[in-house]
Symmetry: C2
Subunit: 463 residues, 2 copies
């Protein structure tokens, strides 16, 4: 069908002015008088809808005036510029055809709905302004990330989702199985007989692609992953989902400074791309969702990120322990309240906190010369706290082995990972960006359920 | 670290000629005489390796000459153009530092290894020529797909991986659970008590994002998904994996012709992008993996794809039934042998087969006016057979309901899907492209295990 998009009409108005075009879209509202009427029509390609004017010269004038909200129409008409009106142009209809009707009880009537209410209809909510904006920005942010890495020659690696190992010993994993739970096969000594399972052993959904990603960084130098990850965490908060997407770049012949530079460049790139490609959506968020959003994002884009070691950060925070729910001391993990204090009050811009005590970080992080801290970094941003966590990886075989022994990790489970340190080990580093947290940050949306098309959380797996 | 990439040296040789640069990479081979030697060094950023020349003026000349294959080195030296040699330039080393040693038993010695052997070391095989080429092309093809859709204003939708429904009733799904298989909780009547499971009901890994994708097409008009999908199929073939990636665009106000045009444009775009951005890799495949590859791809890029109905196709195939393992007749599904005969012998170019009998296609495909066939299309390409399957979707509420009743599908399981036909139904269509099959097609690789970084197949879930 030769239909022009509403986006094209807005972006290339002059090309269409005075011409006859056909547009397909969904009715947001109809206002009719006796002789003419207005239809607000959205085709989902542009944040602003199209204003259609129609007259009683049309055969089906009366029927169209009774169109229910949500109906799909195809409108043929002439585009007329309206420099003095609120909208820059309107479509003067010659013909309006009903592609698909709607009903008077269509759940999205022209009024304000709460986000909670819209969460009960994940299949319809993308038709509302807020979710049109959220999910277009989500799409653009995803593409910005690919573009950022591809322009820099990074290789995109699809690390596996189903895994036989448990990366960080993170626990709380989903099991994947083809065994019949009503009739689990057992071995002679009464345990689950995994030789009957699809992969001939127990398997889970991955919590991180990092270790697999490292094997590719040791071949391609610069790689990134961008895929789903899973946590079976029983926490019902506004920031946790059981299924979410992660970006995990890994760079070889690179140290923690290179890693932080990459993270800073990436964040600035994403913000800049979204501001440039979704200005209407971003203005909407700034106006209706989070008043300080644009100022904050512009500030981040133009600031040099701060740098502070964990030890320095603790010294900055300790004098304010009376303001915190959880007082800090050297050795304790930073909570969101501390992270936000650092980035919002102390630095007033994004800041990297580096060199955490090894006890509170993962086994694969590179031990610093002090023997107490590791070359880790968390990137904290105003309004949200931690958005990125990364580290230089332990590239020394013996140091890594010792650390694994300390933590009770079995060498045989990590043979491939140790091989990377045996055969041409090279300093390398990487980080993880939780994509949903990134979208929340870009849009100001406060609940992770509202930035995932079909969110999965405890007790909730609709559609 | 200020290291230049080998890619930069090859792409911008003139800029670096005569200058001192530092490069980090892994040793492919060392050849040493008494006073000088050659190192072939790959840093993974470019298909061709860097030739390094070093002399006995270096303190560690003897040690470097004994470097094991696979070791990581950092070389500082001067780039010298060598117009008369096989390689366009070499790096005359001033300093060679060992970043990480290797061992004499490094599994990837400089000799030809079989793909089967390399499959036993998925963490090291990306360091070989073949897999450097495969996985760079895979990355570029993925990016080409994003670029194709984003340039056309499509919204990228992350459809869920964990699902409570079974899209096409495809069976053969992986179950996702947090129940303890050693101690499955039971209800009073002895069934699995799913109220104790994470999502409060049984859940599986998705086999397709299409139905979810349709809900977004009815909001954004043009969308695409690109994510992992799963099949617990017990088939140990060169074309089946349990975990693979799929691209599923969905377009509204569009019919089967629009759908086919989109598919044809996309395939040509991917081929063209990969040929332009990975010429070295594509030449390698053409020379060592699949001799006719480049000619075939160029032919596809410049052909108008053929179009034939299923009914016509059967008439074309039936006279040759004696050549087929499975004779065809109207009503039977096409096997790979038939598909290949059509595209390779009859059409000698890619061809769309359309309008299949409804009995062999899915419930959601639009019933044609003949009442017997549906508006489905499969795209067949020479050398592989089906690469894309798609259809116009049934957008009429009553027809869809009838079809579901015929097939015994319960309306209550598809409430959201029927809503799309109740509230502003619009003709729409979409297709699915199996990404791995696409990469096999682009590279000529014959086994799906060799185009997935960490393949998952029956009894195989390594790393």
């Amino acid at each position: 069908m030769e239909l022009v998009t509403v986006r094209d009409l807005f972006k290339h108005t002059a090309d269409y002015a005075g011409k006859t075009v056909s547009v397909g879209g969904w009715v947001r509202s109809v206002r009719a008088s006796k002789t003419f009427g207005f239809i607000v029509l959205s085709d989902g390609t542009f944040f602003q809808p199209l204003q259609v004017v129609y007259h009683d010269t049309m055969d089906n004038f009366a029927a169209i005036s009774k169109t229910n909200v949500g109906a799909a129409l195809i409108v043929r008409g002439t585009l007329v510029e309206t420099p003095d009106a609120r909208q820059p142009f309107e479509l003067q209809a010659e013909e309006v055809t009903v592609e698909g009707a709607s009903t008077p009880d269509y759940p999205l009537q022209k009024k304000r709905h709460t986000l909670e209410y819209l969460r009960t209809m994940t299949h319809l909510r993308p038709r509302t302004n807020t979710f049109q904006a959220v999910f277009r920005v989500r799409s653009l942010a995803a593409y910005a990330i690919h573009q950022f890495f591809q322009e820099r020659g990074f290789v995109y690696v699809h690390t596996p989702l189903i895994t036989g190992s448990d990366c960080e010993g993170a626990g709380e994993m989903f099991q994947v199985t083809t065994l019949d739970l009503n009739n689990v096969p057992l071995t002679e000594d009464g345990k689950v007989d995994y030789t009957k399972d699809f992969f001939n052993k127990p398997t889970n959904l991955t919590v991180s692609g990092q270790l697999n990603g490292e094997t590719y960084a040791m071949a391609f130098r610069n790689i990134y992953t961008f895929g789903p990850t899973f946590r079976a965490e029983n926490s019902n908060t506004t920031r946790h989902a059981a299924e979410f997407w992660m970006i995990e770049p890994e760079i070889a012949f690179a140290d923690l400074s290179d890693d932080m530079r990459l993270a800073e460049d990436m964040i600035k790139y994403i913000i800049s791309y979204v501001l440039e490609n979704a200005p209407e959506e971003m203005n909407f968020f700034n106006q209706f969702v989070d008043k300080g959003l644009l100022e904050r994002l512009h500030h981040v884009m133009t600031s040099d990120f701060g740098h502070v070691t964990y030890t320095e950060a603790i010294a900055l925070l300790e004098p304010h322990n009376d303001q915190f729910e959880y007082p800090v001391h050297w050795g304790s993990d930073l909570q969101t309240e501390h992270e936000r204090y650092l980035t919002e009050v102390v630095f007033q811009r994004p800041v990297f906190v580096t060199d955490y005590p090894k006890e509170i970080k993962a086994f694969y992080m590179k031990l610093n010369p002090d023997g107490k801290t590791v070359a880790a970094m968390d990137c904290l941003v105003p309004g949200i706290g931690e958005i990125i966590g990364g580290s230089q990886r332990e590239d020394d075989l013996e140091t890594l082995r010792n650390r694994m022994h300390e933590l009770g990790l079995k060498e045989e489970d990590y043979g491939f990972y140790l091989d990377l340190r045996k055969y041409g080990s090279a300093r390398h580093a990487g980080f993880g960006l939780g994509f949903e947290r990134c979208v929340m940050y870009l849009t100001g949306m406060g609940n992770i359920r509202d930035v995932i098309p079909f969110p999965r959380t405890v007790n909730n797996c609709d559609l």
